[in-house]
């Protein structure tokens, strides 16, 4: 379908601006047919393009980071370790659900808030459709601080009702370095070796 111009309705380009103070003022500075302004536009665009290419040549550029990850450099492997550790914990838990507990300084140390958030987000993602519990279902958890504030400590019965088979304990030393410990809960009567019911609800 070709575009057919309706000639009866055709207007000269920019004709609506041929009157008015704005044009009169700006025309003094930027003439309508200034070829130098076309060159200026090209100059600016090429400068931006060259600058962007130069930015990516710097050692700290995103491009270098991507290369480091793609080639699995030492630095990128180190950065991926926390992800792999969380995913390994999720893999080890089989069919059961998990409880995340805080111990020692981790209960109150604000430095723990960030790693705690990461562990909860990442393992919850990796575990799904199994669950990692940190609070009763009606408590809002937006970050690690919410988990610390609630201090969830469920009863044995609650753990059994929610098919919790593992407890992940987060502890921290004085320097705020977080350590994780995974415990397997003893199987409840008659349930040993049975696959867990589908989780997701409470």
């Amino acid at each position: 379908m070709e575009v057919v111009p309706k000639m009866s309705r055709v207007r000269r380009p920019g004709s609506s601006l041929n009157s008015g103070k704005r044009e009169m003022i700006l025309n003094r500075f930027i003439p309508a047919d200034g070829r130098s302004f076309q060159y200026a536009a090209w100059g600016v665009v090429l400068l931006v393009l060259v600058h962007l290419c130069w930015l990516q040549l710097r050692p700290e550029s995103e491009l270098h980071q991507i290369c480091a990850v793609a080639t699995q450099s030492t630095a990128s492997r180190a950065a991926m370790m926390q992800y792999e550790q969380s995913d390994r914990i999720a893999d080890r838990t089989g069919n059961g659900n998990m409880l995340l507990k805080l111990a020692g300084d981790a209960k109150t140390n604000p430095v723990v808030e960030n790693p705690l958030s990461f562990i909860y987000y990442r393992i919850s993602y990796a575990l799904y459709p199994r669950r990692m519990y940190v609070a009763p279902a009606d408590k809002v958890i937006n970050n690690g601080w919410d988990i610390m504030r609630i201090e969830f400590n469920p009863s044995q019965q609650w753990l059994q009702e929610h098919d919790v088979r593992f407890v992940l304990t987060l502890d921290s030393d004085n320097a705020g370095k977080a350590t994780l410990r995974l415990e397997i809960l003893p199987p409840r009567d008659g349930q040993a070796g049975m696959p867990a019911a589908r989780s997701g609800g409470n």
Binding site: V3, W42, C53, I66, D87, Y133, V140, I141
Partner: protein, 475 residues
């Protein structure tokens, strides 16, 4: 095998898009860039909505739903082929002109940039916090369970951090890939994210080519592909670049509708606005702004069919997103809940915070290691090509950009988070949503400087033809 299945799924998305465009604009001519940009973008949005509707009926995205979509698509293509209504593929939109040979340089830069983004994304699983905690998590939920009955996840407040009320376009598209693969593999599943994010470049190129010659349009597209912020978020698994991509389509066709009032443009504007609204909550606001602009320019134009255009826009948008709006109404909101806060008196009481927010936004645009000199370039081009302001579609886009920035500034003003913490973390991602408008404005202003510049039709109104500038001024 999983990789092959994922690629087949992406091919299905491309076919769905091609079919949709052939339906909207039968027997048109489609360029290669339209085939690899507009078609997949329309296909992705359509597939996301189809999977959502299927899930609402009770089907978690299984392979057989994808097979049904594939069979229906192929059948439609065959029927349209028989009726000679398929869009025909054309290599170039316009004849090759003197100097166009230089287009190889920006093309190589663009392809290299996008290839690096893809390589970086596919070499790791989901590592961006938002990517796994919000979008990846939802994709897993939707893979395992249909939306009827509502999965327990969506009412579990201990998972509130994953924003239970966020729209589901990206999670459904990812869940579709998992269904095609038959397994949840988030590393291969990131192909979907790469596919959606990279589409932003051809979409912006299409918008630029509407008014700009091939070489300058290619140079601006290369700038987009090389932006550090694209490397930072491209293929990461978040929904910001898909939102920007759908938004690019929506504003392009809103501008075309304002310029030419052709119904296929309006249909595409409705579709892309609906896709954006189903991608992120910001998309709903942006879609409503698109409608308001169509209405506003319709009122100024005073023609009846422009009014009808605004009515059709809101009706179409509501029809496509009604299911989501109704279904998500009961979902618990986080303490952020920007929607309610922006409609409350909080906006007024928090206005003084703008004194802190607006300067921070301005400073962000001068972060050269994030944006390069993009914002400065856009300003300079707008100044040099200031005559473009006389064109209603350029004016409309300026208003849209202003409204978008204003809405984001107001959202920050009511945020429950500490501004000093949240703004450095999120501002570059939010400004990423404005990138299509910034590039279109830069390009369309630049077009005013080009003597005897040509306008290129894109699918939806005309075939890939070239018409002199004066022929476009028909309002």
């Amino acid at each position: 095998m999983a990789l092959l299945a994922c690629c087949s799924y992406l091919l299905l998305i491309v076919l769905v898009g091609y079919t949709l465009l052939s339906v909207i604009h039968p027997s048109s001519r489609m360029t290669i860039v339209q085939l690899i940009g507009l078609g997949p973008a329309a296909g992705a949005g359509t597939m996301g909505l189809l999977l959502f509707w299927a899930s609402l009926i009770g089907f978690a995205p299984p392979r057989n739903v994808l097979a049904i979509v594939g069979v229906l698509t192929l059948a439609s293509l065959l029927v349209m082929k028989k009726m000679n209504r398929l869009a025909r593929i054309k290599i170039l939109a316009t004849d090759w002109k003197k100097g166009d040979g230089w287009v190889v340089v920006p093309l190589v830069i663009t392809v290299a940039g996008l290839a690096m983004i893809a390589a970086g994304a596919l070499s790791t699983p989901l590592v961006e916090w938002d990517a796994f905690a919000i979008w990846g998590f939802k994709a897993k939920v939707l893979t395992h369970e249909a939306l009827r009955p509502t999965p327990a996840y969506f009412h579990d407040l201990t998972l509130s951090y994953s924003h239970l009320d966020y729209p589901l376009m990206v999670p459904f598209l990812t869940a579709g890939a998992y269904a095609a693969m038959g397994t949840v593999d988030d590393q291969i599943g990131k192909l979907v994210s790469v596919f959606l994010d990279v589409l932003l470049v051809p979409m912006v190129y299409l918008g630029l080519r509407w008014k700009l010659r091939r070489l300058p349009a290619a140079c601006l597209s290369a700038i987009l592909a090389m932006l550090p912020v694209m490397f930072r978020y491209g293929g990461g698994g978040c929904a910001d670049l898909p939102l920007a991509m759908f938004y690019a389509g929506s504003i392009l066709y809103v501008a075309r509708w304002i310029d030419r009032q052709q119904w296929p443009d309006l249909i595409l504007a409705i579709l892309f606005s609906a896709f954006a609204a189903f991608t992120k909550n910001e998309g709903t606001v942006l879609a409503l702004m698109n409608g308001a602009i169509i209405l506003g320019f319709g009122l100024c134009g005073g023609r009846r069919h422009r009014w009808a255009g605004a009515a059709a826009f809101f009706t179409g948008l509501l029809a496509l997103d009604a299911a989501w709006l109704i279904w998500s109404r009961s979902l618990p909101h986080t303490h952020e809940d920007y929607g309610s806060k922006l409609l409350s008196s909080l906006v007024v009481t928090h206005l003084p915070r703008l004194k802190e927010i607006v300067p921070a936004m301005l400073v962000q645009t001068t972060e050269f290691h994030v944006w390069g000199l993009l914002w400065i370039m856009a300003g300079v081009l707008a100044l040099l090509g200031w005559r473009a302001l006389a064109r209603p579609y350029v004016l409309a886009l300026w208003i849209l950009l202003g409204l978008q920035l204003m809405s984001y500034a107001l959202a920050y003003s009511v945020t429950p988070w500490d501004l000093a913490v949240v703004m450095p973390m999120t501002l570059d991602r939010l400004l990423l949503h404005t990138v299509p408008a910034v590039f279109f404005l830069a390009g369309w202003h630049w077009a005013e400087l080009e003597t005897g510049h040509h306008h290129v039709g894109t699918i939806g109104t005309s075939s890939a033809t070239e018409t002199p500038v004066h022929a476009q001024q028909t309002d």
